[in-house]
Amino acid sequence: MKLSIAPIPYFWPRQVVFDFYERIAESPAEIVYLGETVCAKRRELKLDDWLALGRMLQSAGKEVALSTLALVQARSELATLKRICEQDEFRVEANDMGAVHHLQGSPFCAGPSINVYNPWALNKLAELGMTRWVAPVEFSSAMLTRMDSRRPENVEFELTAFGRLPLAHSARCFTARSHNLQKDDCDLKCLDYPNGLLLHTGENEEFLILNGVQTLSAGHCNLIQEYADTRAAGVDILRLVPQVHGMQQIIAAFDQCRNGITRPEAAGEAIQALIPNGMNNGYWHGEAGMN
């Protein structure tokens, strides 16, 4: 089992991003996804910066992939997408079918916001060059097991195993809206929320996270204690979603778990304190995601 680091979902200052990946370079995670996947207005790092980070991580022995924007609308976004897809240093994780269009014919990863729900869609993308598939967040262990039984040759399965779940994208920026601003004049408010903006229900329950045009779960998915089941379902790579605090401990816990150094229960307990808004593993068990 390999460990991967998902793209940073939040908008962090440039130096924070560089410092984060310096630590990732020293971590036992094998695969790192880089790039902006949420909002094209987040330009603390440009494509050349991501490429430089990629080279640094590669020289530290990591496999690097560039991730594309999930919701591609404007011409300028499409132009950036094309540049990412046409560079040949790193593999690309497609998060929109426009990216798949540009990547077909050469090896690529299909990210979690590509809708693949059955082996027929999986096979179609494999024919076009997909070598790795990240399951959509609402996949259960039963669904994944059935996908595994009809898995195309040379396609790796990756599963989001830790972190807040990306639940939706919109044209509207909800962080800007919370400040009575429009997206075009958002003052880059997302920079103020390195862990996103917490949304409560009317009964003061922590419910969702506003992250610009993206909505995440407030609670975390954490499948460390289901490690054996993820293996049995054919998962090759466990994906960990970056957060501000404790990423090294989280990676270390998963690493010790996969190497048999720590039992899954103990590894889970070790990182429980790093999950501020509760644990939501419902999807994996075929239930509502927030269970």
Partner: protein
Amino acid sequence: MELVCPAGSLPTLKAAIDNGADAVYIGFQDNTNARHFAGLNFSQPQIEQAIAYARQHGRRVFIAINTYAQPDNWQRWQEAVDRAAQLGVDALIIADMGVLDYASSRWPDLRLHLSVQGSATNPAAIRFYHEQFGIQRVVLPRVLSLKQVEAVIEESPIGIEVFGFGSLCVMVEGRCFLSSYVTGQSPNTCGVCSPAQAVSWHESADGLTTRLGGVMIDRFAPHEQTGYPTLCKGRFTVAGNHYHAFEEPTSLNTLALLPQLQSAGVKAIKIEGRQRSPAYVAQVTRVWREAIDSLQQGSNQYRVQAHWQETLGRVAEGVQTTLGAFHRPWQ
């Protein structure tokens, strides 16, 4: 511009056709379509009658098979495609790549539209579906500004259909898991959003509280108009403010943009609402038929008539309407 109207039953289909729909889109009675509600949709004999009625009046029928097949139930989607093809419908509206692949190879002459649930928001994505599966039209998600719609049409190899009126998805369609996060059922896999069996209403001294999957979505004071607890239309608290954090209960209404949509080259206007009554579909269809006909007299003369807006305002969700993402400041 073709007027594409919804029908969840035979009487509704007739209402749509009688009031001027050019095409009507319908679904089978299972989760192969994104309006999988109890008592809704068409049995085999009803579809045969629907097609016969449409043919008599020179109109078209599309069948939506626009949810995502899963490993254990693939057969149902395959059979739905076969049934629709054998019925001789005018087009299938499909979202799933696997289903598109099957339909395009098994029934190469069948016209395919990409459902809004296919989530194609840019020309590169549209080109992909066109080249791989031969789709001939795409329904755009409700996330593009008017300028972006124009840009997509300039580069799209196929015709574009946009939503004109009805409930407004705030999130990009086909990639929203809010409903499944709370209820376990999503539009993609189950064909439902915020499903009725997960909804509860509770009256108390504080007002009427609505819940979805046990999560409080809203509480209405006695003087407020109540609404169905669709998750993205609820009131939540962010940084101490309690408000509609995503969107108010509102309907999309693009009557005012019709001339621009036509000059941009939009091929079809879609009315949302297969779950709506025959009376609703009749009223909305009549207004849009009049509007499109009036546009054909010349776009300079086109004026949104007060009685159109009154009619649509009366039936709209939340009794207010918006231009949604078409209007950039909404974003």
